[in-house]
């Protein structure tokens, strides 16, 4: 057999097996039926929700903690300011009382 005959034999048109197309389809698009996709989504959904929750917490939590601490610092500072003003008031009242007492002595 020479080369020409070998090529003709190799490139000879042949009909596909009877169930070839059905087999290929079954392995590709037909394999991913809607029900199987839904099964995959249901399987992955909790993980996606958990990831979303973690991301939201990561975004919201720092600002919530910062605001909580700011409120706490603000309340403490306000209490200190009120205490300082109260001491001021008491001191001024005591001074007024001393002045009143001394003035009474002189009269």
């Amino acid at each position: 057999m020479n080369l020409d005959e070998e090529l003709i034999a190799a490139l000879r048109r042949e009909a596909a097996p009877e169930n070839f197309a059905a087999g290929v389809l079954a392995k590709t698009t037909l394999a991913k039926t809607p029900s199987s996709r839904a099964r995959d989504w249901a399987f992955r959904r909790p993980a996606i929700f958990a990831l979303a929750a973690v991301l939201i917490l990561a975004l919201v939590l720092p600002s919530a903690i910062y605001e909580y601490r700011r409120q706490q610092r603000g309340r403490e500072a306000r209490d200190q300011l009120i205490a300082a003003l109260s001491i001021t008031r008491v001191q001024l009242q005591q001074v007024q009382e001393k002045i009143r007492r001394n003035t009474r002595h002189r009269i």
Binding site: G74, I82, T88
Partner: protein, 171 residues
């Protein structure tokens, strides 16, 4: 004009340089002590949490209180108050009250400002078993002080010129 600016700047500069922590040594032997320092952002935060009264206090720049009580006399040195008195003297505030009794002294200084306002108030009160220093810096509106009685500020009885009637001696 430059002299006026310089004269205004000297007290402001001196005010920034006094370290109120130096007064803490007064309380080394104290049985009870109150130590309050509010300035900068902490003071702004404090006034922002005051509700309706905050407008009267929003111009404060510093609030310092040191109050110490002692179990027996002679537990602090009167000389430790000298730097504060010198500092107040550099500010050229007006001494409106100076009460001296056998063992007690009370001094009240203010910085009068135009338009019925105070630029600050300082109180130095010393007795054998107690010493208290109050220093409040920043503009206070005298007309608003009455509204603050529930927060601890009494009516100072100051006239419109910012001086207490019958006593205008300057230290």
């Amino acid at each position: 004009m430059a002299w006026i600016l310089l004269a205004a700047a000297i007290p402001a500069f001196a005010q920034q340089n006094f370290d109120f922590k130096t007064l803490d040594k007064l309380g080394a032997n104290a049985t009870n002590s109150t130590n309050i320092t509010l300035e900068g952002d902490a003071l702004k935060l404090a006034t922002s949490f005051l509700g309706d009264e905050k407008s009267s206090l929003r111009n404060l720049t510093g609030v310092y209180v040191r109050s110490f009580e002692f179990a027996k006399p002679g537990q602090y040195k009167e000389a430790d108050l000298a730097p504060l008195r010198s500092y107040i003297k550099t500010l050229q505030w007006t001494k409106i009250i100076d009460v001296r009794e056998t063992e007690e002294t009370s001094e009240v200084y203010i910085q009068p400002l135009p338009n019925n306002r105070l630029g600050g108030i300082a109180i130095v009160s010393a007795s054998p078993k107690e010493v208290t220093v109050v220093f409040i810096a920043g503009a206070l509106n005298l007309s608003d002080l009455g509204k603050l009685s529930n927060l601890g500020i009494p009516d100072l009885g100051l006239g419109r010129d910012g001086k207490k009637s019958g006593d205008s001696g300057k230290d």
